[in-house]
């Protein structure tokens, strides 16, 4: 391995410089279109995010037949709302119930359902979560501030293949009158990963 590679690790400005160098070389060689990078960044920084998944969840809470379709064929049901594409080509949705709590991890790298949740947070991609989620899910969830009762079954889904997983949280109590838009505001990213629960309506979302 080159010395420059080893030094990257020591000096943060080196990594920025190295990425610039690689990008500029690939552009010059006609292998990279910088405008394409700009478009991709814009999409994933400003457009695609957990608000998409929240709409899927809100629809499932509001429409029992949609929920059935979602659990049977996540890809097709999510596509009904238009959230298709990179790292979401093959979706599985897993449902939390009073007896079951689901949690998603990728122990081998960082696989995550981009079209519904956007890009993953750093903690999801790092060693502490990836290592502990499969062996101590209750301990991990507790670090996020949630205690799962002993009587509840915890299911951890390791996204080691090309299926991407989304947790369908339980609909919170006291939300009977709410429309889909209001319901979607209660659905947090962490509740769709399985390290949290949705917000309750009285706590408010303003």
């Amino acid at each position: 391995m080159s010395k420059a590679h080893e030094h990257d690790h020591d000096n943060r400005s080196d990594i920025s410089l190295r990425v610039k160098a690689v990008e500029s070389l690939l552009i010059e060689k006609g292998l990279l279109d910088p405008a394409a990078i700009d478009k991709l960044v814009d999409a994933y920084e400003h457009k695609i995010g957990p608000h998409n998944g929240a709409r899927v969840v809100a629809r499932a809470w509001s429409d029992p037949s949609y929920k059935q379709r979602l659990l049977k064929d996540g890809t097709a049901a999510i596509a009904e709302l238009g959230f298709t594409g990179i790292q979401g080509e093959d979706m599985v949705v897993v449902e939390n119930t009073s007896g079951v709590h689901n949690m998603v991890v990728c122990t081998l790298c960082s696989c995550y359902p981009w079209p519904t949740l956007g890009l993953p947070p750093n903690w999801y991609k790092a060693a502490p979560y990836r290592s502990r989620a499969v062996i101590d899910p209750r301990g991990v969830i507790e670090e996020f501030g949630l205690k799962i009762p002993e009587s509840t079954e915890v299911r951890v889904w390791d996204s080691n293949a090309e299926l991407r997983y989304l947790v369908l949280p339980e609909r919170p109590a006291g939300t009977e009158g709410l429309d889909e838009a209001a319901l979607a505001k209660l659905v947090t990213r962490d509740s769709m990963i399985g390290v949290g629960l949705p917000l309750s309506p009285d706590r408010g979302t303003e």
Binding site: R18, L32, I37, V41, N122, R132, V134
Partner: protein, 103 residues
Amino acid sequence: MNGIHDLGGRHGMGPIDIDPEQPIFHADWERRMFGMFILAFAGGHFNIDQFRAAIEKMKPAEYLESDYYEHWLYSLETWCKANGSLTDEEIENRMRKLSKGAA
């Protein structure tokens, strides 16, 4: 391979750094690296399995200590060097040139 990336069940990896306010990209180089990976993939430099396989060959300590998108740079460089698109010398020369320009 039985590499360090195969983390399921390991102990001692430290606390989970939850950081609720974290941005999607922490620095501009991350943005560029993110875009470059996707475009290199779409342009046929590697398939997804090759991409991951290269990351798995990082030195274990570097894998654990580096920022996430450094893994992607490592893999991109691996494949660009393998197919002749880039060399270490070119990269280092360009880095020198860019840092002189910035001075």
